[in-house]
């Protein structure tokens, strides 16, 4: 099953896999959202949107629709 950033529960961590670059804003990459980097779910607003993440040391909030585009491997 494909797992994306949006599937993470609070406190869970994952490693970012390759993603289709076209729909991902460049700014997100510049802030450290790159394949191979670690990501942790910190908080979620009601309805799990937006999501507050720690990506490679950067604390960011992104919307669920973008999180759905980013595949990850779960770290257990």
């Amino acid at each position: 099953m494909k797992r994306t950033l949006a599937d993470l529960k609070r406190g869970e961590r994952g490693i970012i896999k390759e993603f289709s670059e076209e729909n991902i804003p460049l700014k997100l990459l510049e802030m450290g959202c790159l394949p191979g980097n670690e990501v942790e779910m910190l908080q979620m607003a009601p309805f799990r949107d937006p999501m507050y993440l720690n990506i490679n040391g950067s604390h960011l909030a992104i919307r669920r629709e973008i999180a759905l585009l980013i595949e990850i491997d779960l770290i257990s």
């Binding site: 670059e21 700014k27 937006p50 507050y52 040391g57 604390h59």
Partner: protein, 700 residues
Amino acid sequence: MAKQINVALIGNPNTGKTSVFNQLTGLNQKVGNYPGITVEKKEGICKLPRGLKAHILDLPGTYSLNASSLDENVVIELLLNKSDKDYPDVAVVVSDVENLKRNLLLFTQIKDLGIPTILVINMADRMERKGISLDVDLLEERLNTKVVLVSARKNTGIDELKEAIINYRHISDEPCVNASVIAPEYFDRLRKAFPKQSLYKLWLVITQDVNFGNINRKEITNSDYFDTKSHTELKKLQHKETILRYQFINGVLKETMKVDASSAKDLRSRLDRVLTHKVWGYTIFFGILLLIFQAIYSWSSYPMDLIDETFAFLSEWTKTTLPAGAFTNLIAEGIIPGLGGIVIFIPQIAFLFFFISILEETGYMSRVVFLMDRIMRKFGLSGKSVVPLVSGTACAIPAVMATRNIESWKERLITILVVPFTTCSARLPVYLIIIALVIPDRAVWGFNLQGLTLMLLYLLGFGVAIGSAWILNLILNIKNRSHFVIEMPNYKMPMGKNIAINVVEKTKSFVFGAGKIILAISIILWVLASYGPGDNFSNANQIVSEQYNDQNNISEAELDEEIASFKLKNSYIGIMGRGIEPVVAPLGYDWKIGIAIISSFAAREVFVGTLATIYSVGSDEEETIKNRMAAEINPILGGPLFTFASGISLLLFYAFAMQCMSTLAIVKKETNTWKWPVLQLVVMTLFAYFVALAAFQLLK
């Protein structure tokens, strides 16, 4: 005079760049605009040792040189234009020790432009607490530049930074990442086509959607030497470039930085757990808003009463001290009340900016964006619209500019269109004086009724703003692609110096900007009120005396007052006012309020000043504006003019009408067409008129 060293301060948002700027320049700074655009330009002079001086330019915060907003365009335009008078001799990139990795991305880009670049690592005082250790010497070697550890908060490292600026000539201007490896052939062709240009600069010109005065993009892309890449291909290459830079940075930091994660468990996550909580987060946000409005209302009423009385006294004093005549009257009845109408704002504006800067400085504002995004999106807005909507309570102009970081054009346009509904500080004096007149000064359940009314008006402003956003969202057919990304900065104690400078600067520019308009209008109004056409005005004494000739019971003073009010009625302004009275009478206003409303279209804050000027013409008594208003009689219905019904009607009119030329001008500038400001003017004002009409007719 020795040449000043031109320094550009560059950095990501939230790195404390402005604190470093404030520490370098102190109060020796000025805020202006870049020519032709509304991006704030902050510059200052820094005194260096050995009698040298540096001109410091605080560039807008940006995450990279890939510009995505007007503010970021400014950065790249300057750095690619060597003939600009502000082109830096040396760039100072400010970074935050906790986000060094991400901050270095921008650093490598700046350095690759061939500008000597000093790296400032700010918030160095936090290193120990965060378990971070740095090998600064090795970092300098790897990055091939000077690295300075600074704590703007503790004021350490600033002298070392000044020393580094003096010695900028010794800093290498060699690039650190060779970006051309992402597409060797492509860059090869570029090099052949333009052998004299720096490759990285060419690359930026090709990829950025910026107008460069000195370089023609077409000239490059139309050249025969290489095929033009499609937008998607360029974007792919930009992704590759970003990955390449991060590889370099990761390599450097692996050798030079160590983080002991065990000591890094911090306040941040504990605060976030509460402040972004599904229930507590919203409760706290609402509580903070309530607190701010109560505070503004009760704290600023003291200095405001004092200012009001002082100007009434000044006006009276001028009249009795200076020789009588038209000039004295102009000062006492035109200029002084007009000035009073400006100065009276200062307390609330200062308090409002004080609170807004605290919310931003602490990092709390980003949490609000996070909490509100989902809700705001239902109305076609973005979580980031909260910042403009909140700063719109100070002034719609900076608020409209603050929409620039909203990624989606549709969300941004809707935010711009509805922001003028929020209660800006120019409405505040109108609200305050009318609330004082028609709402009883009593406490209910521990809350002051007048304070509660004010809060209700603010909520009403927000409510209507959001409601109209919802309608706009349904009507506007704009294709929407949102790229919402927001940084959640670490919590910080606000720095007193930053807040003080912010409050002083913002208040100053507001008072001088609005002040000019208010002063000019009060002089015009005074002239219009002091002179009139025809016999009715010039023979006022005679006409009124004859009218009352057969009444013996009228005193000298009463007769004088009758003459004054007859004169005012027949002055130019009186004639104009009575002309529009039929339009405003159904709303419960007299012609004087009508005049005040019309002059308010220049700027709302003119209202109080206008009434002050109109009422003080011909009145000898030293009285405050409020007392004069309370004494006014409704010309049609009789009884006091300012009743509950007419007061509420006036409050609602001011809450909704689009009465600010400067806002219309800025909306035109930001949306690039007159369509949207004209729509605002017509729709908002008609809406205001009918709501006020309904309110008065229902309540009277």
